[in-house]
Subunit: 445 residues, 2 copies
Amino acid sequence: MSNVPDVEQLKLEENHNSGTENAPAPVDEDVVDPWTVTSTSDAGIDYDKLIKRFGCSHIDAALIERLEKVAGKPVHHLIRRGIFFSHRDLHTLLAAVETGKKFYLYTGRGPSSESMHLGHLVPFIVTKWLQEAFDVPLVIQLTDDEKTLWKDLTVEQSMRMARENAKDIIAIGFDPSKTFIFSNLEFMGQCPQFYQNIIRIQKCVTFNQVKGIFGFGDSDVIGKIGFPAAQAAPAFSTTFPFIFGVDKLPVLIPCAIDQDPYFRMTRDVSPRLGFPKPALIHSSFFPALQGARTKMSASDTNSAVFLTDTAKQIKTKINKHAFSGGRPTLEEHRELGGNTDIDVSFQLLRFFLEDDAELERIRVAYGKGELLSGEIKKIAIDTLQPIVAEHQNRRKEVTDEVLNLFLTPRKLNYDFSVNVPGDSANGPGAAGKKKGKDKKAPKQE
Amino acid sequence: MSNVPDVEQLKLEENHNSGTENAPAPVDEDVVDPWTVTSTSDAGIDYDKLIKRFGCSHIDAALIERLEKVAGKPVHHLIRRGIFFSHRDLHTLLAAVETGKKFYLYTGRGPSSESMHLGHLVPFIVTKWLQEAFDVPLVIQLTDDEKTLWKDLTVEQSMRMARENAKDIIAIGFDPSKTFIFSNLEFMGQCPQFYQNIIRIQKCVTFNQVKGIFGFGDSDVIGKIGFPAAQAAPAFSTTFPFIFGVDKLPVLIPCAIDQDPYFRMTRDVSPRLGFPKPALIHSSFFPALQGARTKMSASDTNSAVFLTDTAKQIKTKINKHAFSGGRPTLEEHRELGGNTDIDVSFQLLRFFLEDDAELERIRVAYGKGELLSGEIKKIAIDTLQPIVAEHQNRRKEVTDEVLNLFLTPRKLNYDFSVNVPGDSANGPGAAGKKKGKDKKAPKQE
């Protein structure tokens, strides 16, 4: 790549910590990185501070208005209620869409457990809304390689979890003609362009830089040090030649805010490799049942409602573990009211109760002390039980055959430029690409 | 991998520099690493010192005798003359072979130039001899990813050079039914087990360790830091399921001594992943025409005889550039004799003149001053011209079709255990593996 400047010229764009020290955050500060999310406050992470620290932007009323105008419909309640609270370059992306430019969606999941919990659904629910609103291709990365490197998991265990998690993702209701799901440990061996883009990215980023962005140190294994390039590569459309040919398309990445460091790095590298910078929208964290100081954890079964929980388990967990914003005594509660900012049952309703008027009624009643802790817990239980049960029903329909269809590199139901260069015609999507080309040829009837 | 100990437990086995400092070698010491080979002496690298520094072993008379006994024929003159001078665990490998154990050969090349020179042939010539002597499978890695990371080369340029170099390697005379050649940037996308083994290796090695072994520093790009795992992976037979099924076979790696650091690292990792440690034999360096202080360089066309050189170019290069061990005046030369240790023409003959008696006659005559510098140059020219011309003729026969055959992942003409685990049956060699399985099934006729 003759257009790649020296590695030392790479300046990280945003005002994050670019120092070379691997110092922990001050004790009174929230910790938010791809591996740890903790807050010192019962109200959870201070997202305003985080936006300032990360250098991203608020999703404000003007942006929501523009999004609704371009999408032609009201935004999803997870955006409307500020659960997706921050973005990078969404205005730029929408401006491009307004001029007829195509884009695609990219999101992902690190499969560290067999079973996903409710919080894991959040980015996927909004991704599905975005895909339907804009009718664009979607790629979903399962970072089973990351989980092998970070956790006490073998390659085989991580790959099995990737397949199990993919079934849950499919059960959300994605369209197989528009969605490609892939596990890194499998897809790397199916498409040379994936590794080739990883090498291009790894040539642009120094150890000093990943030290500054991710806090890696000298005793970290070399797999961790190289991994950020594997999460960056799907933000480059040429990683999927069977979908996009050689088009260099813009991408929009919906993700939880803790994944932002990967895409700060990606956005620095993109222009050097001739790609548009990815746009992002960030979600806040789904609180653990024990309260918003941490996010739900798949490794603590009592911290979250899992997609495999029975109605009875959901009831027990919420009644027993859901952190309450209510007062110690009935008298105090009736007099002073509950605190909806820290009440986990109310927070669960913010995520999963679609009816705005009903949510507002609950908020006011709980705040006034008219609604008791046990009562708001019951509303949360009644809301979540059918959502989880319906998910379980849909998941039963995700057979191995359906799963393998989503996991197969193939052309999606979209046409992109298909000028296939000589050698990459051997890639797995070669047939699809050629078919695409034929379609674009002028008809001779 | 529950059998993988903590990364910090990894102790590097040999007595090489395991410090964390990235200090250059003292000025009076030879520099030998995968990227630099220089000596302060006209006689070239002090290989005795190097063996001590690297912690490998001399190939002595007893080992050569044993090798000949197991092979059932005299060793190649490149081994007999001490050009392959050092080894690791060759005794162990031969002991295994004596008990009927199978092994395979692995060697490689970093394709940093379109045209290879004579020195590049040396490991391949001995590899070919070993393959024929033991009748074993051979895998040849072209590290086009490494060249992209280290040199000012794009992915596309490195991949093109890999194909050109593969043609030269094939022209040496390898058997396509027994040899698989692969470029990393292409093969990574053809076989998931390659990346899966890389992740397993990258989980076992820390930045501190690659700093100690390779001298990497904080401003090195993350691609370099992760790359050693890509050179280690082919030493694990499961990287090639289409050849070896799931067998964990021993491997013998013939290579130039500067590649040893990669395999020191590999030997540390092997037992933790359940593989035998690779055995190695190391060649000394082919001297540059300008003298043995450095090795031939593909980037200095006057430093080497290239496989694309015409007879006339060979003549001119040797006459004009080959460092002479002769005396300044005819009188002195006749009286004191030439120095064969530093005379490049004589060194070229050591590598490429097969006739031992003739080589000894030349050595004695030159040493006595009976043979003049011009005369020994003429012998070198007359020896090399037909070797290069014949190579060029054989290379012309290496069509793209022949090349693609060598580069295709496929079963070779050997049978190995083929217990294919569930998921990996999707790999490129799945058909071949199943065929192998059928073969082993008891016949029901």
